[in-house]
């Protein structure tokens, strides 16, 4: 399942909903990304996420399908927010449930690496010095590259 929303989410509720009444799930790995108040040496007041409605949903669904093709996954969820978020707020949630821990860890890590380089989101930081578009990191491209089939 994938969701793109402005509202906050609660990782605990999502975890419970995804695994409720399931007895075939042995391992659940989740990743939550939050806005940090410090980015390098900059104090960040807020972060505004812009995205490409339509393509975002398509891209997240393709990521999830790719993970399901690569690993034996019982259930999965990706939630990504857009709009203005303050430090401490959640940005993204990725949950992967599997029979065993290795595929759950690998698939969750894969989803986050690919999402970082493929999902059409852009972050605008607000600092005391004004606004600044966050630049893509070469390390994210490298992290994504290790999953190339």
């Amino acid at each position: 399942m994938i969701r793109v929303q402005r509202e906050p989410f609660d990782a605990g509720s999502e975890l419970r909903a995804l695994t409720a009444k399931r007895t075939d799930i042995g391992a659940v790995v989740s990743f939550q990304g939050n806005v940090r108040a410090e980015q390098g040496d900059r104090a960040v007041r807020a972060m505004t996420l812009e995205h490409y409605p339509g393509m975002t949903e398509g891209e997240l669904a393709r990521l999830e399908a790719e993970a399901q093709a690569r690993w034996p996954i019982q259930a999965s969820l990706i939630v990504h927010r857009y709009g203005r978020l303050e430090p401490g707020e959640p940005i993204v949630l990725c949950i992967v449930a599997s029979a065993h821990r290795e595929p759950a860890f690998e698939a969750c890590s894969f989803l986050m690496d690919w999402l970082k380089t493929r999902a059409p989101f852009w972050k605008l930081e607000e600092t005391a010095d004004g606004e600044r578009w966050v630049e893509a990191k070469a390390s994210d491209d490298e992290a994504a590259a290790r999953w190339r089939g």
């Binding site: 990304g33 995205h51 490409y52 891209e59 999402l115 970082k116 493929r118 999902a119």
Partner: protein
């Protein structure tokens, strides 16, 4: 044809989107980018820098050049920074 611009590229063109008829002599997405660059100096600077402008056609990332039809949706944007 619908053309979209995201993040700081949107500031460069001064618009988030525009509806265009496929311009004379433009048959591929790279030709379209070059055509837009001729009309927008801000876009041109980004377009001519290596690895700065990414492209999606019909909401799919593309890396090679592709042919365009009149109903295609084309988006130009900087490298994504979600997650």
């Amino acid at each position: 044809m619908r053309v979209l611009y995201f993040a700081w590229l949107r500031y460069r063109t001064g618009k988030a989107s525009e509806d265009l008829a496929l311009p004379e002599g433009v048959t591929t997405v790279r030709q379209l980018g070059a055509w837009i660059a001729e009309r927008s100096p801000g876009f041109k600077e980004a377009w001519e820098s290596e690895g700065v402008v990414r492209i999606a056609v019909n909401q799919r990332h593309i890396t090679d050049d592709v042919a365009l039809g009149p109903d295609d949706e084309v988006a130009f944007f900087p490298p994504v920074t979600g997650g």
